[in-house]
């Protein structure tokens, strides 16, 4: 039985989605206000943080494109389609905050690519698309987990961890939508 066969879990999902929005909004506010601290971040440390933010930004742009592909594929049915669009919206928020923060630090944000490659030939069903999205989201959790310790600015590390939490919720909900245990491990790596 899939995730969407359980009304109580749907309620839980909606609650989680609402909360994830609140968490990101808090981080976004933290990133975009009180920027005197960031402005004071000097030299190599700022350059390193800009590099981390830009790598994350590039991956976020790809995630946005991936969900766009999924939404336009004709393979996703409601309510899964709504879920994909919601998650894409989160990635757009991540990208917006990351881009603005790079600019605040005096860097040049990377641009989205004109075209992304996706394994289109292997995506034939809704489950294929969900599995693909889940793979990207799990990778995103690991990527942010690997990036957070590298930030020189601890406020940026906190914001990165906030995005990590959002990606982890995406991964868990996609797994549940696939009928898999949503949270298969106690620790992520």
């Amino acid at each position: 039985m899939s995730f969407f066969d359980y009304p109580n879990v749907v309620i839980a999902r909606r609650t989680m989605l609402a909360r994830s929005g609140a968490v990101l909004s808090g981080a976004a506010v933290a990133l975009l206000t009180g920027r005197d601290v960031l402005a004071a971040t000097a030299g190599d440390a700022a350059a390193g943080d800009i590099r981390i933010l830009n790598t994350a930004l590039g991956a976020e742009y790809e995630a946005i494109a991936a969900y766009q592909f999924g939404a336009e594929s004709g393979l996703l049915q409601k309510p899964v389609l709504d879920l994909a669009v919601t998650f894409q919206g989160h990635h757009k928020e991540h990208a917006d905050v990351l881009s603005k923060t790079v600019q605040k630090l005096g860097g040049a944000p990377v641009a989205a690519k004109a075209k992304y490659d996706f394994p289109v030939a292997t995506l034939k069903t809704q489950a294929d698309v969900l599995n693909f999205a889940a793979t990207l989201e799990k990778g995103a959790v690991s990527a942010y987990l690997g990036a957070v310790p590298l930030f020189a600015d601890r406020d940026l590390a906190k914001a990165g961890a906030s995005i990590l939490g959002d990606e982890a919720m995406h991964w868990a909900i996609l797994r549940q939508a696939l009928g898999m245990p949503p949270v298969p491990v106690a620790f992520m790596s």
Partner: protein
């Protein structure tokens, strides 16, 4: 012949050290590496470029060696060949080995996991979707 004895002793010492290193190095398991590779899949795929370059054929490839991929200046200047030794060092802490790399990832600290991941990358190069 004291000189010969010194040379012999040095040769033995080197041979013993090498054998100790060989014994100590973890043996990679490609199957376990499959799971570890999921950590890489926010930015990488085997057979197409993403935020990071594709991994088909990475073992044995020169650094910055995927045609058409937009590498960082740091990686372009790294002048490495990706073999088990260099991959192990890089994956342990990418920014430490190649300062300025856009692979802003703290690394895989466990030597066994790195060996498994490298075994997976090597094995993947010999089958679909790489072949």
């Amino acid at each position: 012949m004291p000189g010969n004895i010194v040379q012999l002793a040095a040769a033995i010492a080197i041979a013993v050290s090498a054998s100790v290193v060989a014994v100590a190095a973890p043996v990679g398991n490609a199957k376990r590496g499959t799971d570890i590779y999921t950590r890489c899949q926010a930015c990488h795929a085997l057979d197409y470029n993403r935020t990071g370059p594709k991994h088909c054929g990475v073992v044995g490839r020169k650094s910055a060696g995927v045609p058409g991929f937009d590498y960082s200046t740091a990686m372009k200047r790294a002048n490495l060949t990706w073999d088990e030794r260099t991959l192990d060092r890089f994956l342990a802490n990418p920014p430490k080995m190649v300062p300025g790399t856009t692979m802003t990832y703290a690394g895989v600290p466990d030597p066994q996991e790195r060996a498994d991941l490298i075994a997976y990358l090597g094995a993947a190069g010999n089958k679909a979707p790489c072949r």
